[in-house]
Amino acid sequence: MKRKQEYRVGVGASSILMVLVVLALAALSLLSLSSAKNNAALSQRNLNMTLAYYQAAAQAQRTLSMMDSLMAEREAQNLTAQEWTDLFAAHGLEAVTVSAEGVFSFSVDAGAERSLIVQGELTPQNAPRFTVTRHELTNQTVTQSQPLPVAMP
């Protein structure tokens, strides 16, 4: 007589399954926590960089207001570019330079190796006394002398 073969699932199988489930959940939780921490760090970095930009922009506006005030005081005097630069420097605006063509420029540190560059035309005798032509956030480490060819025909 042929004996019928029996297949029984023992206690060990369910224990192994349980161990695997626990391990899988532990791995998932660690991955989830790691991802959340990275997300929070990225969010914080984004916040810091944005705040640094707005603080730089605020500083640029304060500089422009001081420049305007100084120009209004001396609009009757016909100062040269160097004299304007010296005048601004004497009033705490050392970053402001005026070229012979009447173009002023200054930069404000915007954090994370970035600078906010402000450029414009200086017309002290006319209204408005200045016109901003450039308000650009640039990277201090990247110097680009020539534009990159993005698409070649």
Binding site: M18, A26, L33, N39, S43, A72, R129
Partner: protein, 132 residues
């Protein structure tokens, strides 16, 4: 003898169940912490977007008070506030510094989660008197 063996198996099972329960508690805590971190980061991002939007709109506006009102802020005792359903609150405080040549308007946009201040973003604009 058989009864003793059964007891040992029961204790072993109890220890295993306790170990698994402990593991699950730790795993659950990790999941909760991850969810909390994600939620906080999400709120900060949304609040920052709203603050940036407010600052950029103010940068091209002539009247800060009117602009804030149009952006959904309500004024109480000179302080503008906006509540969000996403779990943050934004306040804006306006200060005008008037000089002979123009007006320097500073709007400090602050974001709060519950009672905690998340950030304070300055939105400054100088307008010449002749340009107003």
């Amino acid at each position: 003898m058989r009864h003793e063996k059964g007891n040992i198996l029961l204790v072993e099972l109890l220890i295993v169940i306790l170990f698994f329960t402990l593991s699950q508690v730790i795993v659950l805590q990790a999941f909760v912490k991850a969810q909390q971190l994600n939620r906080e980061a999400g709120i900060t991002n949304l609040a920052l977007l709203r603050a940036e939007d407010t600052a950029e709109t103010l940068a091209v506006s002539d009247n800060a008070e009117e602009t804030l009102a149009s952006l959904g802020f309500t004024a109480t005792d000179g302080l503008f506030q906006a509540e969000s359903e996403d779990g943050y609150r934004i306040t804006a405080e306006i200060t005008h510094f008037t000089q002979t040549t123009g007006v320097l308007t500073t709007v400090t946009v602050k974001a709060f989660r519950d009672m905690t201040e998340l950030f304070a973003l300055p939105a400054v604009r100088y307008r010449e008197v002749s340009a107003q």
